[in-house]
């Protein structure tokens, strides 16, 4: 005999019969609906259907990716060092936590807000920042930095300009107001993101080991508090919205985009940290992010092995007449769920009263294992908490590589009759590459972000990695952070592309003088039901996991964003990687900019020789072809270990890795030393390189602009050149002294009889002005 049905909902609208059409509109498959019926042993109410639909959406359940993600290493293999141990593993809580030594730790995570940003760029990006900040302070950490990873269509399109302007303003609006500096990021412009931009935001916070808080509801009878902003109808079903493809009708989903209030978030950060500082006051805490009140109640109950009962009448509401479906599915921002010990109600209420925030007693912890929701005293949902979280369906999708990438990968320059570069060709190519918005200066973007608040920014946006001083009690430590992913490589060769995302991000962190600690990833892909997309996803995850294991860099958490498609098709697979490293001594902080004429420029890793997937092929020849550059993991490790050792030996004045645009772009960027103040004349340097030292190369274009991996250019003092070269030979790292830094503001490159010269000022203008010019608004200063 089935279980008795629940009583009628106080809102007659919610008593409508559940039809197959209604199930479909909730994004649930008929077989999933059947599982719900079996789990409850009765027909679900409409409120329950809504609850299942958001919890079993890809965004919350990872139903299509969970088996893949199991391949990620989540712990450090060892040997146990003075720092780097994983304290909270990926998937356990809202964010992972890594030991940085001396009793201190960092919590960090990246998360996407792609779909909301596509529909409503300002609010979408703003609430993306707000959401990731809550993931961090809910762990007990004080948020100390933000970065972001953005992808847009080509900047020539008016739609891209509108999106870029809105996204950047949204990130600035939120991050600047809450007072967490946006210290870095990466931005690519490529036609594949037209109509489906990517907005991934990362937050990092600091805490002592004893300050770690968990999102578990324990202790029978303990009160459950709702704190923060009141609930409205905004963001209804946002998690489900994030789990479908964008279409022409997506603009009609605007109510599914939440609205952010960074001032409220600032109050919430301070109040929560103050509350968590009271010994024993917090039993469990979780933010209400995707799927809002639903997710926070069932997840805390599930983690605690307990149950939760709440009464929606007690939920602060900013609109009248909201029904149980709306309250449970609302994604109103800046709200948290807190469980405190019975009898300590006054203490939590006092903290939130000080900050003029709601702290409403909405329910209590039970031992039933069920999530029970009442409205006006009537039970409107009664579900086993574990059924929503751990029992969510898991699928192994079909994977089959698409024909187009196979064909593109097989391309070689000889086959396509792309003539090698002559002098004039090289002359023209460099400024064009430097002027492409993917490579060009991102100053227009980061000058809108407060990247200095909390006054710890030692290296801000615009170098290989950002470096931030963490103030930890009476002490301090420096960390480096970088994020990266070249989607074009991942399109051509998903496994290699993912390896490259990892090794390049590691290289950036090492270039700044840091030892890599851990990684967080944001998997941005297309619809997983299409076999070619699932193939990309599977291969990229395999690549990331392989590199993580090889470098012993654990994954501490991340986010999956699927269905990134516009009517034109799926985006290039974009498994964005963010890596944090620890700088053991302030003296090791290294930038990418040369410091003085006479410094010697040394290329590590050998002559670049691959053209495939390069920015050069795309921009100059209009080709998105060839295989992604090869990755040699042991060689890469040797290079990075050697580089860090040289930095620690104080022999490196500047280090910059080769990435988009290759060798000459890297050298040019090293010469673009930032001025001491905005508008002031920057220090002007040139460089003279003789590439004949690299020996005969098959193609000049590949040497100058190819994107072979495992390459770094160093600037060293003249006296250090010989010791660095000797050490490189001893370490088995290829090194070539290409030339030196000059006072003559010219980049002069020759190889035998072949020679090209570029005035550095002209290169710098091409690089500096692209985005600014494109985004200019007539009549504004």
């Amino acid at each position: 005999m089935p279980a008795a049905p629940l009583p009628l909902n106080p809102d007659p609208l919610l008593n409508a019969p559940i039809t197959p059409e209604l199930v479909k509109r909730h994004g649930l498959l008929p077989e999933e609906y059947a599982v719900i019926g079996r789990t409850l042993d009765r027909t679900p109410t409409l409120t329950e259907l809504g609850i299942f639909s958001v919890m079993w959406s890809e965004h919350c359940s990872y139903k299509n990716t969970r088996p893949l993600l199991k391949g990620f290493p989540t712990e450090k293999r060892g040997p146990t060092a003075a720092f780097g141990r994983v304290l909270v593993k990926a998937g356990e809580e809202n964010a992972g936590i890594i030991d940085i030594g001396d009793g201190w730790a960092i919590a960090f995570k990246i998360e996407s807000h792609n779909h909301p940003s596509a529909v409503e760029p300002f609010e979408g990006a703003a609430t993306g920042v707000g959401g990731i900040i809550r993931d961090i302070f809910t762990m007990g950490a004080r948020p100390v930095l933000l970065t972001n990873s953005l992808r847009f269509g080509e900047l020539t399109s008016p739609a891209t300009k509108r999106l870029l302007r809105g996204v950047v303003a949204g990130i600035a609006h939120y991050g600047n107001c809450v007072g967490v500096p946006t210290v870095g990021g990466d931005v690519y412009f490529d036609a594949c993101y037209e109509g489906n931009p990517l907005v991934n935001a990362l937050c990092l916070g600091t805490l002592r080991h004893d300050q770690i808080r968990r999102g578990a509801a324990t202790g029978l009878g303990n009160p459950v508090y709702y704190v923060g902003a009141a609930t409205g109808r905004d963001g209804l079903g946002g998690a489900a919205f994030a789990s479908k493809e964008l279409s022409q009708e997506s603009a009609g989903d605007r109510p599914a985009v939440q609205k952010g209030d960074p001032f409220m978030e600032k109050l919430l950060i301070e109040a929560c940290l103050e509350m968590m500082a009271v010994p024993g006051l917090v039993v469990g805490i979780q933010d209400m992010g995707a799927a809002g009140l639903t997710c926070s109640t069932c997840e805390t109950a599930s983690r605690g092995g307990s149950g939760i009962e709440i009464e929606l009448d007690q939920v602060p509401q900013r609109e009248t007449g909201m029904n149980s479906y709306e309250i449970m599915l609302s994604e109103s921002q800046e709200r948290m769920l807190v469980i405190v010990p019975l009898g300590r109600e006054r203490e939590i209420e006092a903290v939130f009263a000080k900050w003029d925030l709601h702290a409403a007693l909405v329910g209590h912890v039970t031992a039933t294992g069920r999530m029970v929701v009442k409205h006006h005293g009537i039970t409107v949902a009664d579900i086993p908490a574990g059924a929503l979280t751990d029992a969510a369906p898991v699928y192994q999708r079909e994977a089959r590589e698409g024909a187009a990438p196979i064909l593109a990968r097989a391309w070689t320059p000889a086959a396509a009759a792309v003539p090698d570069l002559d002098g004039p060709g090289a002359q023209a190519a460099l400024p064009r590459l430097l002027g492409h918005p993917t490579i060009a200066s991102k100053r227009w973007i980061y000058r809108q972000y407060d990247h200095m608040v909390q006054h710890g920014t030692a290296v801000g946006p615009g170098s290989d990695a950002a470096v931030v001083r963490l103030r930890l009690g009476a002490g301090e430590k420096f960390i480096a952070i970088s994020n990266d992913c070249n989607g074009r490589y991942c399109y051509l060769n998903p496994h290699r592309g993912a390896l490259i995302a990892m090794v390049e991000c590691l290289r950036n962190v090492v270039c700044s003088g840091a030892t890599p600690l851990a990684m967080t990833d944001n998997l941005n892909f297309g619809n997983p039901y299409k076999p070619e997309n699932f193939h990309q996803l599977r291969e990229c995850v395999r690549g990331l996991a392989e590199a993580c294991r090889f470098f012993d860099v654990p994954v501490v958490g991340g986010n999956v964003s699927l269905y990134n498609e516009s009517p034109e098709g799926a985006i290039d697979p974009t498994p964005t990687v963010a890596i944090v490293g620890l700088i053991e001594d302030e003296a090791h902080i290294t930038r990418q900019f040369v410091g003085a004429a006479g410094e010697r420029l040394i290329l590590l890793g050998g002559a670049p020789h691959e053209l495939g997937g390069s920015q050069f092929l795309g921009l100059i020849h209009g080709l998105k072809t060839g295989d992604a550059p090869a990755v040699d993991l042991p060689g890469e490790k040797r290079l990075q270990d050697f580089l860090l050792a040289q930095i620690k030996a104080a022999r490196v004045r500047a280090a910059h890795d080769l990435s988009e645009g290759g060798l000459l772009v890297a050298v040019a960027e090293m010469l673009f030393v930032p001025p001491v103040a905005d508008g002031a004349a920057p220090p002007v340097f040139g460089a003279s390189l003789d590439l004949a030292i690299l020996g005969a190369v098959p193609r000049r274009d590949a040497l100058l602009f190819g994107e072979s991996q495992g390459r770094v250019v160093l600037a060293v003092a003249p006296a250090d050149a010989a010791p660095v070269m000797a050490a490189a030979a001893a370490a088995g790292v290829a090194a070539a002294e290409l030339g030196g830094v000059t006072t003559d503001p010219v980049l002069a490159v020759r190889s035998g009889a072949w020679a090209v010269r570029w005035p550095v000022g002209e290169l710098r203008r091409a690089w500096e002005t692209t985005i600014e010019e494109a985004m200019k608004r007539p009549g504004l200063g």
Binding site: A172, F263, K266, W355, Y446, Q448, M452, H455, A677
Partner: protein, 232 residues
């Protein structure tokens, strides 16, 4: 001895986000006894300088500082300034002091309509015996970070500012459209100071400069001239 034992009070509005940085500038950088004063308090306690820090006081969705001026603590700040007490507003603090009428002028949205965070070169004006190019040097480098730093004042007000040498700093390369490149001003009496640039972001060894420490000292030296001799 000039300045020894000076006590600093840093106001905390709920949306202040440079309060800890300001605290560090005076408490850490200058090593002075520094404490916070909560916006709901009605008295400042014993203090030699009130710092109104940067941030977004009450969210500032309306107009920066428009609500903060009505907060309980601002009544105490008003009375303190009226008695000749030293007050220093930074960024949002400058906006609040203008809204409260403690400083002349107003700050409106940047001409670009965008937030700006960058390091500015600032020309030091000959304003007071302690705040002038002889003490600070002709040009200093301090970061700004604001969306509403476009200084405005009517013509008569501007004339009074210039005649009384109330302009403290001017942008070398104007980032926000401010009238006459004005980055910071003082009141006529010379006890209330305000500026958009953040001296607390030019104080640590890895900052773009350490000119912020000198600026903080120059403000304090209004009351304690010995401070300048100490560090000269």
């Amino acid at each position: 001895m000039g300045g020894a034992g000076m006590k600093i009070a840093v106001l905390q509005f709920p949306g202040s986000n440079c309060d800890q940085d300001a605290f560090q500038l005076f408490g850490g950088g200058l090593g002075l006894p520094t404490r916070y004063v909560w916006h709901k308090d009605t008295s400042l306690g014993e203090t030699d300088l009130v710092v109104v820090p940067g941030g977004f006081s009450y969210g500032d969705y309306l107009r920066c500082g428009a609500i903060a001026r009505f907060s309980p603590i601002m009544r105490a700040v008003q009375a303190y300034a009226d008695r000749g007490g030293l007050v220093f507003g930074i960024c949002n603090g400058f906006q609040i002091l203008c809204e409260a009428g403690l400083l002349p002028g107003a700050l409106i949205r940047n001409a670009s309509l965008e937030f700006r965070c960058l390091t500015c070169a600032l020309r030091v004006e000959d304003s007071t015996p302690s705040f002038n190019p002889r003490v600070l040097g002709p040009v200093i480098h301090i970061p700004i970070a604001h969306g509403e730093g476009n200084y405005r004042i009517d013509e008569a007000g501007r004339a009074r500012l210039e005649a009384n040498r109330q302009v403290l700093l001017r942008y070398v390369d104007n980032p926000n459209g401010a009238l006459a490149d004005i980055a910071g001003v003082r009141n006529e009496r010379g006890n209330v100071f305000g500026m958009m640039p953040h001296p607390e972001r030019a104080a640590e060894r890895f900052h773009p400069s350490q000119d912020g420490l000198a600026v903080a000292r120059a403000v304090l030296a209004t009351r304690f001239p010995g401070l300048l001799r100490q560090t000269a």
